[in-house]
């Protein structure tokens, strides 16, 4: 695989690369995380002017929205965009492309080995800057920071699967040893042929990430078994989803839930007098707002096999429901019956759009 080594830290190296792409006109815009130097506020920004690039912090462990959501329409604009995505954002985007919610054609997808992101409350409280040095130390030692999202701690897909450009930002990347950039596609090689740095050929040294992989796998098992224990069975589900206020925030921020008219927001779930009468005649009491649990069960069946475990849903839940852990656990299990891995390959069709004539002999 072609590679470029830039004798700078990974975060400086990637900024050089973005500057090269934008200033040479290889791309019209850059999408990446940004921190405003005056206020310390974080957001995701689309930048077209080179002078605004310096505010970008593309590798920062912050995800204010799952970028794949906003990238959908942008990717169809006909403009060339370099998008810096966390591995799970890239996988989510691939899932969206499969659902005709975007295109990879005009994009340069740039991703990096990922140490996980901070929950949004730490970001909103302005703590990222202070937490960053420790985070970087822990991640470069191949360990899991204790203050990242639960599903990040349990994420096994922290090496990007099919980015045009991959930056080594966890594991093999040691401060001062230079920034390794891997070019996985012809368009990336073409666009970066004149980028400064030492051009060569190399593959990501994944052995340096084995320690992290093992730790993540252990965390995953721990998380899923605690979810199995506390959040399953009717009683368990009532206990956790009984807290739900029905804001649908979790589905709003979900990169997979793309339906503009969600069934749960349609007239099918517009409660009227006959609904209340029927329900009360049967049970004598009704929890309001109604059907919050049905909402979760429905969403779990509709989309969980495509869940990439980014953790946005848990982060926005106002009542602390571990939505992401429940969805990722259930999703892993539904995806497994179809041998499916969300975001692995854009040509792999989503399981409910295809079938085999001979399958599931135990059913029917």
């Amino acid at each position: 695989m072609s590679s470029i080594t830039i004798e700078k830290s990974a975060s400086k190296g990637i900024n050089d690369l973005l500057r090269h792409l934008l200033s040479t006109g290889k791309v019209d815009a850059v999408l990446a995380m940004r921190m405003m130097p005056d206020t310390g506020a974080w957001d995701l920004a689309l930048v077209t002017d080179v002078k605004n690039l310096k505010e970008l912090k593309p590798l920062a462990p912050v995800m204010t929205v799952n970028a794949s959501q906003v990238l959908s329409n942008l990717s169809l604009s006909g403009k060339k965009i370099a998008a810096v995505l966390k591995p799970c954002e890239l996988r989510a985007f691939v899932e969206r492309v499969k659902r005709e919610q975007g295109s990879l054609e005009n994009l340069f997808t740039i991703s990096h080995t990922c140490g996980g992101v901070f929950p949004l409350d730490l970001v909103a409280e302005g703590k990222v800057d202070r937490l960053l040095p420790k985070y970087e130390k822990v991640v470069s030692a191949g360990e899991i920071p204790s203050n990242i999202r639960d599903t990040c701690k349990a994420c096994e897909h922290f090496i990007p699967m099919n980015a045009d450009i991959m930056v080594s930002a966890a594991g093999e990347c040691k401060p001062g040893e230079g920034c390794m950039i891997y070019l996985n596609s012809d368009k990336a090689r073409e666009a970066l042929s004149e980028c400064t740095g030492e051009h060569g050929s190399a593959v990501l040294d994944s052995t340096s990430l084995e320690k992290l992989a093992t730790a993540r796998a252990r965390e995953r098992e721990k998380l899923f078994s605690s979810i199995e224990k506390d959040c399953s069975g009717l009683d368990g589900l009532v206990n956790i989803f009984g807290k739900c206020v029905g804001c649908h925030g979790c589905s709003r921020v979900c990169p997979i839930c793309y339906c503009t008219l969600c069934d749960f927001e349609s007239i099918n779930f517009d409660y009227n007098l006959p609904y209340f009468e029927e329900h009360l005649a049967r049970k004598g009491a009704l929890r309001l707002p109604p059907d919050t649990m049905l909402f979760h069960m429905g969403r779990l069946t509709h989309m969980s096999f495509s869940c990439v475990g980014c953790g946005m849903c848990s982060d926005v839940c106002p009542v602390g429901i571990p939505v992401a852990a429940v969805f990722s656990r259930t999703g892993e299990s539904t995806a497994s019956i179809f041998d499916y891995l969300p975001g692995r390959d854009v040509t792999e069709e989503i399981p409910v759009m295809i079938f085999k004539e001979e399958e599931f002999p135990e059913l029917g």
Binding site: S232, G233, L234, V238, G242, K283, L363
Partner: protein, 149 residues
């Protein structure tokens, strides 16, 4: 869910079972069974759909949440769907819902998929009776006794 074992001894319990039957095959089989005066449990309610692929997850989930003790989904045998491939898609979707229920420990046995052709009136009667009996043994859907969702 926990108390289903005790209730299963209750032979008085008449389960509410809902069948989603494809118009072209199983619904016709139901007609045939009726015409042949075969006995069908009176607590079995039929919803006629144009194809097993019409049945989406929310339809089935809502039926459970509204208190059905069991749900039978029935369509044409693989290869015989009136619309060609509907039942293959239906089977995938069904497998998915069943897996979700299994993973969440939500009585997946209360949900069953069968293929019954228009000619199989006898089999229809059997399938419905067997499934109803299975649900009777499982006991009432515990969702009925909670007012928290």
């Amino acid at each position: 869910m926990k108390d289903k074992k005790e209730k299963s001894s209750n032979s008085e319990f008449t389960p509410k079972v809902v069948g989603f039957l494809c118009n072209w095959c199983t619904y016709a089989a139901a007609d045939l069974a009726g015409g042949s005066r075969l006995e069908i449990p009176s607590s079995f309610s039929v919803v006629r759909v144009m194809c097993s692929s019409r049945i989406d997850h929310n339809l089935l989930l809502t039926t459970f949440f509204k208190g059905a003790d069991g749900i039978l989904v029935a369509g044409c045998h693989p290869g015989d769907c009136h619309y060609g491939e509907g039942n293959y898609y239906a089977r995938r979707r069904f497998a998915q819902l069943k897996k979700v229920m299994e993973t969440l420990d939500l009585d997946p046995e209360r949900l069953e998929l069968v293929w019954v052709s228009a000619a199989e009136g006898n089999r229809y009667a059997e399938v419905v009776s067997d499934f109803t009996e299975k649900i009777r043994k499982l006991g009432p859907n515990p969702m009925n006794s909670s007012t928290r969702f």
